[in-house]
């Protein structure tokens, strides 16, 4: 009898651990592509970091077209992946319909709020990070004109642009900030040729620092800025290394940390809204060997002081998405 009990117990334990081992976390990359050197790549790096540390494996999927979203999400959930993390605002609607069908699966979405009992929404305060790099751009500009090139024209990207414009105006109230968007379709995330022409157009209007928040399009912006001898600012990942000495800084959005944390929590992923702000280390500006000669100690001091004020709540950066207006510039 006791033997039986032991056997049964062992079997039950096996079944339980077996079940636990089967539930791999999964990540879905959005249309920009896993290696966009920016947003999705940061998510990938976070997942890789988790895999390296825990020795675990994860499933991954890369979106090829707009139409695949729901199917991709459902098939991953049916395969038993848990939790499923997706990068990008565009999953919002789809997740809202899919999440209730899989109440036992945990989902995580980055850059969008989805209010479902089994969804964790991670949002970043890009306005704060962009404000800091905006200040840096304003201080580095000699022509008193700086530019911003966004990817697809959506409120989220306007939030980047608006924070940036506020940062520029904070250090140079009379500066001109040129705000451009690449397009209105998802193709705008992947058109480096158009990004390059936009950068040239902004340069001809006098801009000497250009901030690109445009996924793969940004690669073209940074390239052209380097070719034309002006400065650029990268986004999401640290892009300083792409053109050493020619990228002023990068607005880092720690998507990697968000993905890493979510994977670490695993099936116990805590639903709700998680705001990754400057204080929580969700956004920051990048300093490394590649840009140390471009950023003077005075610039760094000014930006760090502002960062402290934002963290303490003394300085509030206007968030475009709160009321769809921008006091510092128009799109």
């Amino acid at each position: 009898m006791t033997l039986m009990k032991h056997l049964l117990g062992a079997a039950a334990t096996l079944a339980l651990t077996g079940g636990a081992a089967l539930a791999e976390p999964a990540i879905i990359f959005d249309l920009g592509g896993k290696f966009d050197k920016s947003f999705n790549e940061a998510a990938f790096n976070g997942a890789e970091k988790w895999a390296k540390e825990t020795g675990g494996t994860y499933k991954e999927l890369e979106m090829q077209s707009e139409a695949q979203r729901e199917q991709a999400l459902r098939s991953l959930a049916e395969e038993g992946a848990n939790p499923i993390i997706m990068t990008g605002f565009a999953f919002g609607d789809v997740l809202n319909t899919v999440a209730p069908d899989f109440p036992d699966t945990k989902f995580g979405i980055i850059d969008m709020v989805v209010e479902q009992p089994n969804v964790k929404s991670v949002v970043f305060t890009e306005d704060q990070g962009s404000y800091l790099v905006g200040m840096m751009a304003g201080l580095a500009s000699k022509t008193n004109t700086v530019g911003f090139i966004g990817g697809m024209d959506i409120p989220l990207i306007r939030r980047f642009g608006c924070g940036y414009a506020q940062g520029v105006k904070a250090v140079k109230p009379d500066a001109t900030v040129i705000l451009n968007m690449t397009g209105t379709t998802p193709a705008a995330w992947n058109d480096p040729v158009k990004g390059a022409e936009l950068a040239k157009a902004q340069k001809s209007q006098g801009a000497d620092v250009i901030y690109a928040a445009a996924g793969g399009t940004g690669v073209g912006v940074l390239q052209t800025a380097a070719d034309e001898g002006i400065l650029s600012i990268g986004v999401d990942s640290n892009q300083n290394y792409l053109h050493p000495g020619k990228v002023l800084t990068s607005m880092m959005k720690r998507v990697d940390n968000a993905v890493y944390d979510a994977f670490k929590e695993g099936e116990d992923l805590k639903p709700g809204i998680n705001v990754m702000d400057l204080k929580a280390g969700g956004v920051d500006y990048a300093m490394d060997d590649n840009n140390k000669d471009l950023v003077t100690p005075e610039m760094k001091a000014a930006v760090d002081a502002a960062a402290e004020k934002i963290k303490s709540g003394e300085l509030v950066v206007h968030d475009y998405m709160s009321d769809n207006t921008c006091p510092a510039g128009s799109f």
């Binding site: 058109d191 022409e197 157009a201």
Partner: protein, 322 residues
Amino acid sequence: MDYETLMQILGSTVRLGTPLLLACLAGLFSERAGIFDIGLEGKMLAAAMAAGSVAAMSGSAWVGLLAGIGASMIFAMLHGVASITFRGNQLISGVALNFLSSGITVLVAQALFGQGGRTPPLDGAARFNPITLPFADSVKDVPLIGPLYEQVISGHSILVYAAVAFVPLTWWILYRTRFGLRLRAVGENPAAVDTAGVSVKGLRFAAVAITGVLCGVAGAYMATALQAGFGREMTAGRGYIALAALIFAKWRPWQALGATMLFGFFQALALRPDVVERIAQVKIPVSALDALPYILTVLVLAGFVGKAIPPRAGGEPYVKER
């Protein structure tokens, strides 16, 4: 709009219009011979990938250009075999090649460089750098003509000048050579060409091959001149805009130059919403400017601006009578 701004926009027009022009001329040869080619986009993309990869490996833009032409030719020949030899549906073959290209370019680039389907950034001799034409610096202060010469005409890569030179060359081939006459005839009435004892298949394959070469140059221009490397889906629909331009130009070379530069101008204008706003005095959405080429094409197709009559035998495989 001041003169200086206009010159900047025109300079941008030339850069953006060149890939369209090359693709449009490519489509012109093919369609004039009776082979509809919706696969311009795919060929350009394949060429961009091959040019970017080979230029990165060899360090020479010219070798990259040859590789781009080669890759584009392979796709062109696939299209030829499917639609000429096996008399398949030309539209379906073209669409299939576009899909194939979209996937295989990323696959190959990833296998070669492991940078997520991107090729490493090119510099120096691996790129077609802008050429400053003689006297550009000395005449730039001459009013009117100076800035025009310095900003619009000078300062492009050699491929741009080649593309413009292809226009009279295309006109000459089509309208002044025996080959051109036969090429046009095979698109209108292949049976007559066959009766005259000239090979319909041979002519059509020649036309498709020329298409391959021109698309190859267009792709190489994007990856090694406009940009410093290949990126996923970097052609971003330019092959389709070129098709629209071809219809707008009514399948004629000089008009193709006009149409592609007009479409390039719209694209360049869309990059300067501030200028548009100043001229129009109202805020015009950028997407409206982006849509203009398509709207114009629909107007032409609907018969509002003259009539666009495609080559009569276009899209139909030729079946020899026995």
